[in-house]
């Protein structure tokens, strides 16, 4: 059957539906996911199909939601926990960091935590400083957690399927700005293995290594640069932990120039980590310093004027790439 065009949001929903049909141990736990179908309608129809026993609508208690899901995962369920906004992840951090991430290690594999935590992140919609953050660096820093951030609908379905089937805790970041972006998605079972980056566009002048919704920004920048004869390669990181350093480094060895693009804050962030990896593993191939373009080090402001400035833009990416190739 040919792929259809469906939205990122519906692609995740399709993965959830298919996995819940296939495995009765898969349950969904979160706020407003029952009859309401989720604040973004991202769980629409699941409550009707699977009932309150498997689509568990909770009080607003993120800390206990995450903690209980870990206990449930240790005793036979495969919970998918939904934290409505990524900003609220902080309320569940103790559970993620001190319990989920360490159970397998501390028990030498005796217990596993097959848990997925999905959460919507990023700028857009003037939701202000407490509903717009991209805190993926927080969890990527902690050994024992896997971290993925799909950039398109097909990967959203494939990575969610892989995350649910994985025996370790996986934090699944969904950029809100991607939710309604459509793309071709396989109808049946679709698995994208964790820990593999993808080449989203081939080129030889420079590599843009981009994460999540920034892949779309990179691709639009690449279109603009192509008009000037600058052929940019775009690497979609897809999985922060495990990080597919090999694919990233291979691309940079080919192009000799790299820009790392992330919607998280620049300071002590994921872009810096990837830039360091490139510098360590591809230094002899580089014709220019590795550049970073990430969110400025300020909270995400509310106003229609200021909010767009809190995230890298296509124009900024184009300017950075010109800077990069200008160093020839």
């Amino acid at each position: 059957m040919p792929d259809r065009q469906i939205s990122f949001k519906d692609a995740v929903l399709e993965a959830l539906t298919q996995e819940m049909r296939a495995d009765p141990a898969v349950v969904l736990i979160g706020e407003d996911i029952g009859a309401a179908g989720g604040v973004f309608l991202q769980t629409k129809g699941l409550f009707e199909e699977f009932g309150s026993g498997r689509v568990i609508d909770t009080p607003i208690s993120e800390s206990a939601i995450v903690g209980m899901a870990i206990g449930a995962a240790m005793t036979g369920l495969r919970p998918v926990v939904e934290i409505m906004f990524g900003d609220f992840l902080t309320l569940g951090m103790d559970q993620l960091v001190n319990q989920a991430a360490k159970v397998r290690y501390m028990s030498a594999g005796g217990f596993t935590v097959p848990l997925v935590l999905r959460t919507a992140i990023g700028v857009g919609g003037n939701l202000g400083p407490q509903h717009s953050q991209s805190l993926h660096a927080w969890v990527a820093h902690v050994p024992g957690l896997k971290v993925v951030m799909p950039s398109n609908a097909a990967d959203a379905k494939g990575l969610m399927t892989a995350a649910i089937r994985d025996d370790d805790p996986v934090v699944f970041f969904e950029s809100r700005s991607s939710y309604n972006v459509k793309g071709p998605v396989p109808v049946g079972e679709h698995v994208v293995p964790l820990g593999r980056a993808a080449i989203a566009r081939e080129g030889d002048a420079a590599s843009i290594v981009a994460i999540g919704a920034m892949v779309g920004v990179a691709l639009r920048a690449a279109d603009a640069l192509a008009a000037d004869g600058i052929g940019v390669e775009v690497v979609d990181v897809r999985s922060l932990v495990p990080l597919d350093a090999a694919t990233i480094v291979e691309s940079v060895k080919k192009t000799s120039r790299a820009l790392v693009l992330d919607a998280g804050h620049a300071q002590f962030g994921v872009a810096g980590e990837i830039a360091a990896t490139i510098a360590e593993q591809a230094f002899d191939w580089l014709d220019a310093p590795v550049l970073r373009l990430a969110a400025p080090n300020v909270p995400v402001p509310f106003s229609r004027t200021l909010e767009p400035l809190a995230i890298p833009s296509r124009e900024q990416v184009v300017a950075k790439v010109r800077e990069l190739v200008g160093r020839r």
């Binding site: 498997r54 009080p59 208690s61 206990a64 995962a73 240790m74 028990s107 217990f111 050994p143």
Partner: protein
Amino acid sequence: MSAASNSAPDLGLALYRQMATIRAFEERVRSLSAAGQVPGLTHLYSGQEAVAVGVSAALQSDDVIASHHRGHGHCLARGGDPLRLMAEILGRTSGYGLGRGGSMHILDPATRNLGTNGIVGGGVPLATGAALTAKTVRAAWIAVAFFGDGAMNQGIVFECMNMAALWKLPVLYVCENNHYGEFTRIDDVTAGTLAGRAAVFGIPVAEIDGMDVLAVYAAAGDAVARAREGEGPTLIVCDTWRFSGHHAGDKQSYKDDAEAKAWAAKDPIETLGRRLAAEGLTEAQALSALRKQIESDIAAIAEQARAMPEPAPASLQEHLHA
């Protein structure tokens, strides 16, 4: 106090043996710690044995527990292997976590023990989540969270109690009130009452003498029955006392001597021993001989554990991911 020991003489002796085993184990850990043999911090259960043993006696083998930082007693009461437990406390490769966890992180799938825990209140969501599993898959087993009075000031405990009461989860909350959260007396940091914290959620509360193993057993039996019948959670507040400090090396200058002496007179093992003797079920001499035998067995186990190798450096990265 009922004559439960009379109606089931074997039970009384079994409880005595378990409590004596925990005490001997903990006192051995204490002497190893004083001798510098135990890495890091270890928190001893001496004095609180009646709680772990009394509750465990009311459980089935497939019931799940989650424990706290003072958790060796729960591990042993649930049938954990004292050799593997001692090896983990000593950081040896034959321990439950191959030396990765230590005293505060003993997890044992064989006894359905979700672990001792280094975060105060950390076991409460784990046990409540296990109860969610039990309800979801319609299992017959239940879950138990052991925690201290200190955990009763952690917000996540109330979040869990709310959901457990709302969904009638098969979970038993066992609060071991030993009157001190680390080095601070409970009255100095706690408004209201411990029982009141569960009562606001409509959770039934039993407040009992936590030094009386038969009282604990009886209260746990009632709560377990409620949980198995789908009637939801119960809180049992056990009034108890830790005979040692917060950790093995704590000199306890903050405790009142007269009060400590009064609690020492309520030693749960001695109390049960006197009762068993008074009821003619055994003799003081036999109990004394039994304790000596247990102490000698534990000493041998400790030596065996000490002789075990440290983990290989090459094992550092093992068991991080599937």
